[in-house]
């Protein structure tokens, strides 16, 4: 296999990791929303925590995106 083709395939495979981050962020906000609908008065106090959780989960997806970008443009 040519090195260039292997790079492109690797970048595509690396981006699969972002799906996991999508699942994580969706789980966090979905659970936040279901909790907020059960007890709306407690929801605003926990919104910051939901954002922190989403940011931490999203950061791992960004890692795989950065790996893909490095494969495409740097390596």
């Amino acid at each position: 296999m040519e090195a260039e083709a292997a790079k492109l395939i690797g970048a595509g495979i690396a981006c699969i990791g972002m799906g996991g981050a999508g699942i994580g962020v969706g789980t966090i906000f979905g659970n936040y929303l279901s909790g907020a609908l059960r007890n709306p008065s407690a929801a605003p106090a926990q919104f910051t925590n939901a954002l922190i959780g989403a940011a931490l989960a999203e950061g791992l997806g960004i890692f795989s995106l950065v790996v893909a970008l490095i494969l495409l443009f740097v390596a």
């Binding site: 910051t48 940011a55 999203e58 950061g59 960004i62 995106l65």
Partner: protein, 250 residues
Amino acid sequence: MANDPIQQFQINKIFSLGEVGGVEFAMTNSAIFMIATIVVISGFLIMSTSGRGLVPSRWQSTAELIYELVASTLRNTAGTEGMKFFPLVFSLFTFVLTANLIGMFPYFFTVTSHIIVTLALALLVITTVILYGFMRNGMGFLKLFVPSGVPGAILPFIVIIEILSFLSRPISLSLRLFGNMLAGHIVLKVFAGFVVSLTAAGAAGWLGAIFPFAMTIALTALEFLVACLQAYVFTILTCVYLNDAIHPSH
């Protein structure tokens, strides 16, 4: 290639400022937009607070809104003792927010889409946390890595995991902001490129170009949300890390 989505992140030299030890110092478009960010923030805050009415004007209440947002976030996360870091946190928030929003204008350069800028900001935060943690708590700061109530048998592994997660903080903090801004602008450019290539194909292409154009508009709205959200996330995480320096024992 005219539609190259990466070309917008090119750093161009505008004029040279001379050489120091063989390294060239130059005014780049990145530096120009960093200066513009500072000028916009300072201009906005000076203008909005120069009146200082008891009944705030619209400008003044906007500035108070931003102040209150950052102050309440810091107070809720790091306690009243954390308020001594308010100037740092407020500067970080306004800088990241304004840099993100300035980058949303067409043809403008996004400062935060370069990892060297976001890494410098993240290292500033982590260095502050480490230095202040040791200054305030002495060796007690190391209790951050030893959670209480953990059985002795698995404690060494927990300590290793805690140290690794602490070391990865500057990397994740900088990569999150960098990756979000970079990916968002690439996606915008790719969809805008579809419009250009479709309109080159004649009348049917003009009709088909409506869809990527609508997508570009929707993505622009999403990017404004991401620009504000990422600035806020950067601020919250800074507050959380500062809280670790102030109250290291779990």
